[in-house]
Amino acid sequence: MKHTFAVSIGGAAGQGVATPGNIFARIFARRGLHLNAYNAYQSIIRGGHTFLTIRTGPERVTSFGDKIDLLIPLNQDTMDRHLALLGRGAAVVYNGDAVKPGAAADGVQFCPLPVSELTHNSRNKVEQNTLAVSAALSMMGIGFQPLADVLTHQFKKKGDAVVAENVEVARSAYDYATGHFQAFARPLPMTGNPNAVLTGNMALAMGGAAAGVKFYCAYPMSPSTGVLHWMAAHARKAGIMVRQVEDEIGVINMAIGAAHAGVRAMCATSGGGFALMSEGLGMSAMIETPIVVIDVQRAGPSTGVPTKTEQGDLWQMLGAGHGDYPRIIAAPTDILDCFKVIPEIHNLADRFQCPGIVLTDLLLSEGTASVDPADLDFNVEIDRGDLITSASTNGANGYKRYLFTESGISPRAIPGVPGHTHTAATDEHMEDGVLISDEFTDPVKRRAMMEKRQRKMAGIEAAVKPPALTGPTDADVTLIGWGSTNGVIQEAREILAEEGITANQLQIRWMVPLHGDAVVEILKRSRRTILIENNYSGQFARYLRSETSFVPDGYIRKYDGEPFMPHHIVDAVKEQLAGSITMSVPMHEITV
């Protein structure tokens, strides 16, 4: 069993759950530990309930896990809701003046802090939360200095007195915990070089910067807004034009305009905003101007549950916009992959002059993970495809923007280049851009132009690697997933292996092109197949069947708004292997 340690901090929105969370994350990562964090929250600015879980350990942590080792309830509600999730060896650190303990399993340690006494009756809430962090660090076997460093950094703008006060208060809690509470059985080690910590949305934005995106625009929509925030904060340094637009229709049209003029452009939204973008996506395909759109899925339909996760937009992506046209759809498989996939899909969109869609979800985009900073390599390959940005002669004028070619790709001249004037039209057009939609309709030319555009799909398929199986070749069961479920399925496989069940995994990263033949080639060798996805109707299962006729043996689905936890998958797999059940819908035990 991997050595991991999970801290959960709960409280009302506005009580400051994020700050201790960030302090823990920073301290863990600076020790070279890995981490994975998930914040279960609500669409409320003050009040309600927020529950952040940070799981750390010396090896890569791929999910927020199943168990809580340390609970920090900032209010009574959190104590009451989550105490039952704690088992032997776990502890609760809380403000003994304000929160009362409840009934817990045997072996759970209650650690009330005399907050008023330790803070000298200060009403500073940040200090109160810092006490809990400090006490917890003592119990984890992490020295006090890392916290002192973080606090010094955090408060240095407010002056030495504030720094000194906070460090002193934290120190008193650290010492109190050392004297009064029992330390955790396995201290968290110092493992090596510090890691970087980032959310999926930050990774997507940084991926855009690495890809050379020079135009980013968006309309705020949870859970995609983090991309806009990173972009806006770093725009000037990165030389990126960032705009907040009046609506998502304006967003995609503005981004396409910018792309058409020659920059790499990108935008992000969630399902509802994406619905507004659909017509624009078709324009991108029709005028053959590349665009990259990120859809961060949240629980739908309609406004749905804005702060909860789901993999429910796949069919929207597959069918977005009327008519047939080439498109590329990627579903990154972890937070680092959010960074990696963006330059890749920009290269493809540029080369094939069509829309590229990146399908993430709240779990990935708002989740936090540690990565090796060396993996955030901005020195990526940039392939802009057949792009004409200057001309040395004015004589061309035979230029045909939509020239018929074997690949379906026509050289793309950007506005401003002499001798290459043309009109890019959303109406059907001929090679030279002249419309064949109104006066000069012509079935032969229409067919030729449809085939030209669609020919690009063959090139896209050849440019994208088919999916591969991970884990033992010969396994009891093959678990199939797509996108964000990669980490939790991987962890479920590790747990199953400990229980004597071998499982391998087929995780789909490129939804389009799917490489259906390669998928079937893999799956037909499997002893048993179970398809896992975070939605009601089995959107990927239906897509897989429509593309390949393949039908898996069983399904595990979840559509309660919360992500899978490893034991949900483990239990369901065992249940399905043992009996005749082919559909499992695990119940989420944590209520936020």
């Binding site: 690495a210 340094k237 229709i249 503005m254 058409h260 901005f378 020195n379 401003g416 004037t421 009109t423």
Partner: protein
């Protein structure tokens, strides 16, 4: 931009002729707008390859195909959003948006307001015929009350939008009204609009000879009166402009209602464009020290 000297030659009207002739109905007001637009480009000697003419959907939105500049014939109502993207990506281009009243004030109303608020450096030529022509004659946002159309066979009961007043209120920095039947006047307005730094809006009466039998050439000819002929009118006066925008009846003013030059355009407000030329021609890589800074923030 590799625009070396030999590439520039005297721009003449034939240079601006598009690949095909317009398929507008004979007598359509849009012919006059196209002619005035081409004449303005020639008068100002703007190189066709440095112009992007962008439209939405509708009869008048077919215009980019009829003029030899770079063109984009986009989605219904979306031309201003697309044009904003083009302009920000390459602010050295001259960006002109054309389209009709349904396209601009109906389906595109949201973008119309916000593009004016932002003062993007564009010229927006709305070819206003107070009817939906391409869909064969339905009520438009500028159709007058009482007008009978296929979608309001007993007479329109909704008051029209006043594009001039809306533009002045929304923050457009150049607001004018032209008439397709007044070629020379319209050409002058377009030239002023092209030279204006900021959002220039010209609402052009462009009669639909097929579907609008109320607001015809003779109807306008009897009513239009040039603001330029009134020496007491001051287009720098916002209140006067707003007041004048309400005049509609036996007399309908045309000409420049409002202009201010003291507001910077969006591109001028954006520090990312301060130096380094158009975004569309910049190096895509981010300097190593900046990358290092970005990553250090995460540690």
């Amino acid at each position: 931009m590799a625009t070396t000297a030999p590439l520039f030659k005297q721009v003449t009207l034939p240079d601006l002729k598009g690949k095909v002739d317009p398929d507008w109905c004979p007598g359509c007001g849009d012919f006059g707008v196209l002619a005035a637009f081409e004449k303005a480009l020639v008068d100002l000697q703007i190189q066709p390859h440095n112009v992007v003419t962008i439209s939405g959907i509708g009869c008048s939105s077919n215009l980019p195909g009829y003029v030899n500049t770079y063109g984009m014939h986009t989605l219904h109502g979306r031309a201003l959003a697309v044009a904003t993207g083009v302009k920000l990506a390459n602010h050295e281009l001259t960006v002109v948006v054309t389209g009709g009243d349904g396209d601009g004030f109906g389906i595109g109303g949201n973008h119309f307001i916000h593009t004016m608020r932002r003062n993007v450096d564009l010229l927006y030529l709305a070819m206003d015929n107070q009817i939906y022509g391409l869909t064969t004659g339905q009520t438009s946002p500028t159709s007058q009350v009482g007008m009978k159309t296929k979608s309001a066979p007993f007479g329109n009961v909704e008051p029209p939008v006043n594009p001039i007043a809306l533009a002045i209120a929304a923050g457009a920095t150049f607001v004018a009204r032209g008439f397709s039947g007044e070629q020379r006047h319209l050409t002058e307005l377009i030239k002023q609009g092209l030279q204006h730094k900021g959002f220039a809006f010209i609402d052009v009466f462009s009669p639909c000879v097929t579907y609008n039998h109320d607001n015809t050439y003779p109807w306008f000819k009897q009513r239009v009166k040039k603001l330029e002929d009134d020496t007491s009118y001051n287009p720098a006066n916002w209140l006067m402009a707003m007041e004048k925008s309400q005049v509609w009846g036996d007399v309908i003013p045309i000409g420049k209602f409002f202009q201010r030059a003291d507001r910077p355009s969006l591109e001028q407000c954006e520090p990312v464009l301060d130096e380094g030329g158009p975004l569309s021609h910049r190096d895509l890589h981010i300097p190593a020290e900046t990358v290092k800074e970005f990553i250090t923030e995460l540690m």
